[in-house]
């Protein structure tokens, strides 16, 4: 997926971008509205993450202009303002969703996924590997032509593995990616999801190998 992040705080933009890249996305960063306009004019994006308060203007003005220019790139508004009326304002102006800063990266990811699923056309990037076809946006997994229903956490776990096959992930890392900070989660909880995912992958050529004390790895063959 190709994202545009319009955010004036360098530090936050850096943090969000690096997480996004980790998840296998391409992300451009614009620090102000002028840059954002230039990026949008030159490149086609799957999704725009838009801050509201920017040094050279109001992000909502950009949003309005963006919608008026017939571009249907979905937009998620990042807002540090929490007044309800403000949120409604941005939705009225054509934002597809909003998220309040500071946000959980998992929530941002979930909202991106939901918006993409709602707004995307047919042309999807799918990952095909070892007898399975995976559509990360639609959340659809097909193993040897058979549709497999995945729960959200199983889906995200699969995504992590598929983005880096052959790489060893510790339980901690996987836990961080799968669970939000709302709750204390035991790292053993990840075992449940790994177990389920294994079951889904039984018919494919992929398997998840356990390295005792180290973590898990997705292997081919």
């Amino acid at each position: 997926m190709k994202f545009l992040l319009v955010e004036d705080s360098e530090a936050l933009a850096h943090a969000v971008s690096s997480r996004m890249r980790q998840d296998g996305h391409v992300i451009d960063h614009a620090a102000n509205l002028a840059d954002a306009r230039a990026f949008v004019a030159g490149t086609e994006y799957d999704l725009i993450l838009l801050d509201i308060m920017l040094p050279d203007g109001d992000g909502r003005a950009f949003l309005k202009q963006h919608r008026a220019s017939d571009l249907d790139t979905p937009v998620i508004v990042l807002t540090a303002r929490s007044q309800v009326s403000d949120r409604i304002d941005s939705l009225d102006l054509g934002a597809d969703d909003y998220i309040t800063k500071p946000f959980d990266h998992a929530e941002l990811e979930a909202r991106c996924r939901a918006v993409l699923r709602r707004t995307s056309g047919q042309a999807q990037t799918t990952i095909a590997m070892g007898g399975l076809v995976f559509d990360p946006v639609a959340g659809q997994l097909t193993v040897r032509g058979q549709d497999v229903a995945l729960r959200n956490r199983e889906l995200r776990l699969l995504e992590v593995f598929l983005n880096a096959p052959g790489q060893l992930f510790s339980k901690q890392k996987l836990t961080d990616r799968l669970f939000s900070f709302d709750h204390d989660v035991s790292e053993n909880a990840i075992e449940v999801y790994v177990g389920r995912l294994r079951k889904h992958l039984e018919q494919s050529d992929l398997k998840i190998t356990t390295f005792r004390g180290l973590g898990y790895r997705l292997d081919h063959g």
Binding site: A80, S82, E107
Partner: protein, 454 residues
């Protein structure tokens, strides 16, 4: 109006002035009509008296140097009245008494003998008298005959009494009519003021736009000052809103940065105690930003609850929107949000407030429900528009049920979960602002059940 110092009433003042004027005019009308009627009646009597005197004089003639006077009966019959007024007369020749009442002395006749009138009292009765004279010329003689006729005024008095009574009725009638008209006029004069009051009272709390409807010239300065006051208020409200938004932005943006870094750091840190520290950091950030957000929301809700902006909304539609908004978060825990409703549930209320309340309730359910369970939302219309949220979590601690909706109160089982303790307070405030209630309960099957009715 409760805390406004009142001194007098414009309407009463206007009414009083108009009624007083009407009373004065009524009295003047009465006297004017009566005096005019008296004059007319008097003139009538005078005319008859003069004619009677003239007919007596006509009968006088000089025959052979001697004055011959035979008073015609008609001279008296023409003076007869329904009140049987008495008639007195005296005829004199060159000042010497000829016949009639000797002591009846009328006014002197005018030059050339025209009739002159006078009112005085004769034999105890008020009378109207006329004196006319004529010079009779014989062959050698020339003598002046003077006739004085007097008539009591009983008939006239009766007529005048009738006229006075009618004039009084007329005066009073005019007065009554004027009172009614002045009531109407006072109301008409006050109406623009009432209309202005009405349009001020009907305005929503957010509406600080100037009044544009034309008003009478006298109210111009008032409306002008009102508009300029509203303008200043609007600006200062705008400024404080901007300030709050700016403050939130200033606080939350760096928090967001710190949080993102901390989250990123967690990916690289392996040692258990460092991980615990970073996790605590992230949670502290979440805690404070959530509290800041809820405090702002709560302040806004307290403000709006005082000036409810009621509108027609569909509760099902509203809850559906919130479900759509929150389903990505539900997905993260593999929770299913199920909305149960039979058709639309129309109700009157402040959409922003109700949205916030519903959002808080769903948010709570999502936080406390176990992963991969179902959160049921039921919207019903009777007996009152109601939203029920049921989850399959461990429910509320029974000991805390009564206090959970209080500000900053959190359940004993909420230790491991991030929250501000304001969510249920907000929902309860919203319910109460709409005349409804928030009821917390536990289901028999376990799990919390929150009922928000409006």
């Amino acid at each position: 109006m409760d805390d406004v110092a009142i001194s007098g009433s414009l309407r009463q003042r206007l009414m009083f002035g108009l009624v007083l004027g009407a009373a004065v005019l009524g009295v003047i009308l009465f006297f004017a009509v009566r005096s005019y009627a008296t004059q007319v009646a008097q003139r009538g009597q005078d005319g008859i008296l003069a004619a009677s005197a003239a007919s007596i004089l006509d009968a006088a003639s000089v025959r052979g140097g001697v004055v011959d006077l035979d008073i015609p009966i008609s001279a008296f019959t023409m003076l007869s009245t329904p009140a049987d007024d008495k008639v007195f007369y005296a005829v004199r020749q060159d000042g010497a008494f000829l016949t009639g009442y000797r002591d009846l002395a009328g006014p002197a006749a005018g030059d050339g003998g025209q009739a002159r009138m006078q009112s005085f009292e004769f034999q105890g009765d008020p009378v109207r008298a006329v004196t006319a004279s004529r010079t009779l010329i014989g062959l050698q003689t020339r003598s002046a005959i003077t006739v004085t006729l007097a008539q009591t005024q009983d008939a006239l008095a009766v007529t005048l009494q009738q006229i006075s009574r009618n004039a009084a009725f007329l005066g009073f009638g005019f007065f009554a009519l004027a009172v009614a008209l002045s009531y109407v006029a006072a109301n008409a004069a006050i109406r623009p003021l009432e209309r202005l009051t009405d349009s001020v009272a009907r305005r929503g709390p957010q509406d600080l736009s100037p009044f544009e409807k034309p008003v009478p010239a006298e109210m111009g300065p008032l409306v002008g000052s009102l508009n300029s006051l509203m303008g200043r208020l609007d600006m200062s409200l705008q400024q404080s809103e901007d300030f709050i938004a700016e403050a939130a932005h200033r606080v939350r943006t760096p928090l967001a940065t710190v949080r993102s870094y901390a989250e990123g750091m967690l990916q690289r840190v392996d040692r258990a105690e460092n991980r615990t520290a970073v996790r605590s950091m992230v949670r502290a950030i979440d805690e404070s930003s959530r509290a800041a957000g809820q405090l702002l929301d709560h302040a806004m809700i307290t403000f709006r609850a005082d000036h409810l902006e009621s509108q027609q909304i569909d509760l099902v539609d509203l809850v559906q929107t919130q479900v759509t908004q929150l389903s990505p978060i539900a997905d993260m825990k593999d929770l299913e949000l199920r909305l149960h409703a039979d058709g639309a549930v129309p109700c009157q209320g402040d959409a922003i407030l109700i949205q916030n309340a519903v959002r808080n309730l769903i948010d709570n359910a999502l936080k406390y429900a176990p992963a991969e369970s179902v959160v049921d939302l039921t919207v019903t219309a009777t007996p009152r528009p109601t939203v029920v949220v049921r989850d399959q979590g461990q429910g509320f601690p029974p000991d805390n049920l009564d206090t959970l909706a209080l500000r900053f109160q959190r359940g004993d089982n909420a230790k491991g979960t991030i929250g501000s303790g304001l969510g249920l307070t907000i929902a309860q405030d919203v319910a109460q602002a709409h005349g409804g209630s928030l009821v917390l309960a536990n289901q028999d099957t376990g799990g919390a059940c929150v009922t928000l009715s409006l």
